[in-house]
Each structure stands twice: as C-alpha cells, then as structure tokens.
C-alpha cells in the first residue's frame, strides 16, 4: 500500500539514496554512548517544539492576559501543568546537554580542522539556545519574569553605542509592557528557535561532509575494525538516551506537580530577582564591574570566553608546530575557564540560599502567589491579575481600606497610636465595650477634636445591655434580642440619648445611632461624615464621594468593616 507511494516519491526526490547514505554511514570505533549528546540536543529540541505548540494554543502575550493565560494552562487544561512543566524542565536540560556536547567535542578534539565551522556554529547554537530560554523565562509575567525583564532591559541599555537603541526596539514602548511581551514572545517562538534550527542544519551538513571522529586514543586501524553503521546501532542508543532523559523529566515534573507560577508581575512588590542558572556567573561578575564598566561583566568577559573557544582551532594551528602539548594546553585552559564560571555560579546560588533576608522576602511573595492562584480559579478580571483581589470581596475591602483609610485609621498594634478611631474589630461587642468604657483613649477619640463624650461608669451588666442594643443597630444576625431590649431602655435612662439622637429623635449633638454600623448607615456616613446626622461641625474626616470611592469600592469596604471580629479589637 505504502510502497508504491514511496517509490513514486523516490523517483522524484531520490530520498532513499540520501537517507540510506545517512543511515548507513560508518562510525569509526563503532556506536558509543558518548556520541548521544548531539542527538539528544535534537530530540529535546523536538520535544520543546511539540510542547511549545501546545502552550502557544493557549498563551496570550499581553500584560493583562499573560499571567492569566498561563494560570489557565496550569490549572484548567487537561495535562496543562505537565505540558508546561515538560517545556520548562526540558528547556533547562537541553542547555545542560548542549554544554555537555560542547565539553565532549572539546575533549575529543572535534574542533580541529577540518571541523572548525561545525565547532563555531555549535558555539553560536548554544547562544541561540540561551536566547530562546531567556525570552521564554519572561513570558509567564509573574514576579520572577517581571524583575528579570527589568534587569535584562537595564543590562542591555548599558551596552555601549547600540544598548539604548536595542532596548527601545525590544521594549517597544515607554515602559516594559504589552509591546515588550509580544516582542519577546515572537522572539521566543520564531526568531531564536529559527536561529538554533539554522545552527543545527549547518552543524549536520558539515558533519555529513567530514564524518564522525573515532573516540580519543583509538588507533585508525582499531577504529576501522570496530566501525558500525549509524543505523540501527547508534540510532538505538540515541533514542534510548532520549527516552531515558525524557522519562526522568516526566517523573520529576510529576513529583513536583510542574513548575509553579509565581505571584503576578507587580512593580510595587518587593522581590529578590535572580536570573536563570546559566546567567549566574555573569550575575556574580556584575558585583565587580559596576556603573559604566558594567558591560565588561555582561559583554566583554563572556564575549572573550566564547571567542577563545571559537578560536581554538586557529590557535592550535599556530601553536602545534612549536609546542608539543598544544592540544592539552588549549583544552586545559578551556576547562579552567569553565570551572571558574561554574564556581561563580554555584557560589552565587549558595549565598542566595543562605541569605535569610532574601529568602523571607520571597516567601512573602510566595504566600501572595498561592492566594492569587486561588482567586484566579474563577477567571482573572480583564483589568489584569493586579486586580485579582476583586474576586474576593473581603480581600478587596481590605485593599480599599489599606489604600484610602489606613493613613488615619491606623492598625491597632501601632505604637504609639496617633491615628483617628481604630477600626480593627470595629462594631464587634468587644470594640463597643472598650469604646464605651474609654472613649478618650488614643485608639478612639484620643487623637481627635472630640472630647465631650463621657466614659460609661455603670456596672458590667448595664454595659452589656447597652452594648447589645448598639450591636443590634448593626443588623448583624446574632443579636440577643432580650438583652438588646434592656439596652434600649438603658440608652435613654443612662443618658446616651442626651447627645445621640435615635432615628432623628433627640438633640442631634452627636451622631444618630439608629442603624449604627449597618450597611446603609455606613454608606451614608462614609459619603458624608460631616452631615448633621453624623459628626456635623465636629467632623474631621474627608467625605468620600463617588469620585474618590466607587459604588463597588464603597460596598466592599463596608463589607470589610462589618466583618471585623471580637479578636481583632485586642488593642
């Protein structure tokens, strides 16, 4: 069935001849596990392409949607967490394998003529790989991504001559934002993988022309005698290595539940940003070269290192006639350079892990990350993940309170307390009780113009009844009606009514307490605290009109105020 089609194709392409030439090409010294690195790079790259296609079906590269869409991939898609975990971990393993492949080529002397081009293109390929990986690192738009982007933009901007121009092109706008993310996404899925694929193509082409090397130390006769064809001897090793590595990655992702998505990018949250592991040596160098010398750490030194490796074949050609051990010396120097880079990277990582302050800052961000992930389960507001708190009225109310109110109404544990009436535990029985016993305390009217209210000095039973009556005004559900009724009588008898009217009945000197701290009472109060019904001339609080506080914000902040518990009034 298939055979005629293949034959038809072969007449037009002679692909069979080409394929068999590839598959039957002899490997001097035979199949070898050390030869699998190159194939592994291709296999892992293919896995990245496949998983990347899956991710790109659901990812949206805008500042409002990036985090939300990655969250959707992670938590709503079937196997989405695995897809993303595979893509992330395989990408990192790919860089490790590519570096091992370079090491192996270095030790085998595969960089010597006539394979210089293959060697140099391989080194360029590693840089393309790092670009792919780093542009990908920025896409989830969580705190890590955001700060890493800021750092990257800063570094790029400090390069001499082209730096600022490059940043303007990549950033695409006045700030790191929508254009930046879309540019990075395009680079991640088109430009940089294209460069890498191109490097692989040239690499394979030159390999095809010059054939494979025998393992080091093997004589030409022995290598010829042991020679095997690529197919199936080496191919089965390549695929076995690929399978084992992928199996390991799957198990790792399985055990760790994939890669965690951090808290959404937020310029106002403190975070210890670190680049991916392969940049740690450069990160370390930046401590030594600061200011205008920074490009020495970020460009000159890494550039010199790569240039040295690229120049190996030519240095060898020059040295070899005069120096007997030229190859060993060059390899030794290269290894020493790599060891220094490894040391710089590892020492940075260890110093970070040991820095308690840094760990604490990021733990705080992690708590918010978990909360954000929970909130996002019902969908992220179109205004972006920074308004995720709107998915939870209580949290939203607290945000509004923190933004608009806390400047005057300070937290109860502030020392010394110099704010307006403390609203921690507001309208709980404990709060009312404390207030009635000492209205002039710093947490109540102590720091305000109001000093006319007398402390209640009756016995505890009477106090409890009045407290219950006031508590009844809040319209919360758990009122002791009998006790409240007693309180209603005492309200007049104990003299409250002399100042505090009740539903318009009374002198109106002090706020009318009918429906005190209920939703409508609070809404009216917050909109206009200076109204005669409330503080009148004694008022010091700003009025919060619809421009300062939207209807929705008013409603959630009232909800937050009414949710205060007895325990909170522990000041």
């Amino acid at each position: 069935m298939l055979k005629p089609i293949i034959r038809w194709l072969d007449v037009r392409t002679s692909h069979r001849t080409h394929f068999s030439a590839l598959l039957e090409s002899p490997l001097p010294g035979g199949a070898h596990w050390a030869r699998t690195f190159g194939a592994l790079v291709i296999i892992l790259f293919a896995v990245e392409a496949l998983t990347g296609v899956g991710l790109s079906l659901w990812y949206a590269p805008t500042t409002t949607d990036a985090w939300a869409s990655v969250h959707f991939i992670q938590h709503q898609l079937t196997f989405g967490w695995m897809l993303r975990g595979l893509h992330h971990v395989t990408g990192n393993v790919l860089i490790v394998v590519a570096i091992l492949h370079v090491l192996q080529a270095l030790l085998w002397g595969a960089w010597k003529a006539p394979r210089e081009l293959s060697w140099i293109v391989g080194l360029l390929g590693i840089q393309a790989l790092i670009l792919i990986s780093h542009t990908g690192y920025l896409l989830p738009w969580d705190l890590r991504s955001y700060w890493a982007t800021q750092v990257l933009v800063g570094i790029a901007g400090n390069q001499p001559i082209v730096g600022e121009l490059a940043v303007r092109v990549i950033q695409g706008g006045a700030e790191v934002g929508n254009a930046t993310l879309t540019h990075l996404y395009s680079m991640h899925i088109l430009l940089t993988p294209g460069l890498f694929a191109g490097a692989i193509a040239v690499h394979l082409w030159t390999k095809r022309k010059h054939g494979e090397l025998a393992p080091p130390g093997m004589t030409a006769e022995a290598a010829a005698e042991k020679a095997q064809t690529y197919f199936p001897h080496q191919l089965v090793r390549d695929l076995a290595a690929g399978f084992v590595v992928m199996l390991g990655i799957v198990l790792y992702v399985w055990r760790t539940n994939g890669v965690e998505l951090g808290a959404p990018a937020d310029p106002s949250i403190e975070y210890v940003a670190r680049p991916e592991w392969y940049f740690l040596p450069i990160f370390h160098l930046r401590h030594w070269f600061t200011g205008s010398a920074e490009f020495i750490a970020t460009t000159v030194i890494p550039g010199m290192a790569v240039s040295f490796l690229a120049a190996l074949p030519f240095l060898y050609e020059r040295l070899q006639p005069r120096v007997k051990q030229a190859q060993k010396i060059l390899i030794g120097l290269s290894l020493a350079g790599m060891a220094v880079a490894l040391f710089l990277g590892v020492s940075t990582a260890m110093a970070d892990a040991a820095n308690v302050e840094e760990v604490k800052i990021n733990e705080k961000a992690d708590v918010w990350a978990k909360q954000a992930q929970q909130l996002a389960m019902i969908g992220v507001p179109v205004s972006g993940p920074l308004t995720l708190y709107q998915n939870d009225p209580h949290l939203w109310g607290q945000k509004v309170f923190d933004r608009e109110c806390v400047a005057c109404h300070a937290p109860g544990d502030t020392k010394p307390y110099e704010g307006a009436v403390c609203l921690d535990g507001y309208a709980s029985r404990t709060w009312i009780k404390k207030f009635l016993r000492a209205p002039d305390a710093p947490h109540f009217f102590g720091n305000t113009k109001i000093d006319e209210m007398d402390a209640f000095d009756g016995d505890d039973e009477k106090l409890a009844a009045i407290v219950e009556f006031l508590y009844q005004q809040t319209a919360k559900p758990d009122v002791d009606l009998k006790l409240a009724a007693e309180g209603a009588v005492l309200y007049e008898k104990e003299g409250c009514l002399e100042c505090h009217s009740l539903d318009g009945v009374g002198t109106g000197i002090a706020p009318d307490l009918k429906g005190w701290a209920s939703e409508p009472w609070l809404a009216a109060f917050i909109r206009d605290p200076g109204h005669e019904r409330f503080y009148g001339k004694l008022n010091e609080m700003d009025a919060f009109d619809a421009e300062k506080l939207s209807k929705a914000e008013l409603s959630v902040v009232i909800g937050w105020l009414r949710s205060q518990s007895d325990e909170k009034a522990g000041f």
């Binding site: 896995v47 496949l50 079937t78 196997f79 695995m82 089965v236 695929l239 507001p381 179109v382």
Partner: protein, 169 residues
C-alpha cells in the same frame, strides 16, 4: 542470521524508544489542545436582569442587551452576553426571543412596524418569531422569562444555528 536477528531487534527497540519520546511530549499536547472536547470551558447561560417591567409598552417590541459577568477563557468581565427582543402582550405576559438568527447567526433587528428582520439573508419574522420570508429553518428562539419585584429577567441561552430542530449550541 544472528546479526540480522540482532539488527531486527535493534530496529524494534529504536521504534519503541522513539514512540515513547513522542508519547511523552504528545499526550500532554493533545490533552491541552483537546481540552474543549473533554470539558466545557466556560458557560454563559443563566438568568440575567434585562429591564424594569414598567419600561415595556404593550405591543411595542424592545431590544435589550443582556449584561452579566462573562467568563472568557482565563478572564472575567462584566460584558454583553447577548441580546433579546422583549414583547409585552395585552394580557400582561412578556415573551423574549433571542436576537440571534436561527439561519446563520446574524443579529435580528426590527424590519417594519409589524416584523423583525435579519439583514444577512433578508429573513423576516413576525413578532411571535414565525418566519415570514427568507431562509430561516425554524422560528426565532424563545428565551425563558421571569418577572420578580417589577424586574424582567431573561434566561440567556445559545442554540445551534442552521438546523430545523432547536437544540443548545
């Protein structure tokens, strides 16, 4: 014979490993791509407040946009879910018809004083939703109506277009 056996075995082994790698990357890819087939991702059919009852005039149809919290993929917003034609009859009852044309999903407007019409293929419908001219395969889709505290609520639903039998999309 022995070497060709070994060769055959290696070929099979290579196939197994290759298939294993493909499966590891391919299964999550398929899972993500086919999630919409495996699970309903987002459903916006629900009872939505449309208009105050007193704002409807007997015999005069009124087009009302239905606004509600819409979950769209990963995001969530207050937005227009759809639109409905409301008509108060002489007996005070209220009927609601989806503004989506059952033919190919265009938006139905009012054509004349007595008819609705769809601009895409020149369909015309009576105010009861019965097709009078044009290619519509069925009557306009009725939506459930509830009146509570003087407010008209409409249960928004989408139906499959282009077929004679009415069924949810």
């Amino acid at each position: 014979m022995a070497t060709s056996d070994r060769r055959g075995f290696l070929k099979v082994l290579a196939g197994v490993f290759g298939a294993g790698i493909t499966a590891i990357a391919g299964i999550p890819l398929l899972g993500a791509a086919l999630t919409p087939l495996l699970r309903r991702t987002g459903d916006n059919s629900k009872l939505i407040k449309a208009v105050a009852e007193k704002d409807l005039i007997v015999g005069v149809p009124r087009r009302v946009e239905l606004t509600s919290v819409v979950v769209d993929g990963w995001s969530r917003a207050v937005g227009v879910v759809g639109a409905t034609w409301l008509l108060k009859k002489a007996d005070g009852s209220i009927s609601a018809l989806s503004s989506i044309c059952p033919h190919s999903g265009c938006s139905i407007g009012q054509k004349t004083k007595e008819t609705y019409g769809c601009p895409c293929h020149a369909s015309a419908f009576s105010f009861e939703g019965v097709p009078l001219e044009g290619p519509s395969p069925r009557t306009m889709d009725p939506l459930a109506v509830e009146v509570k505290d003087g407010l008209v609520f409409v249960k928004w639903e989408r139906f499959k277009v282009g077929v004679k039998e009415r069924r949810p999309a």
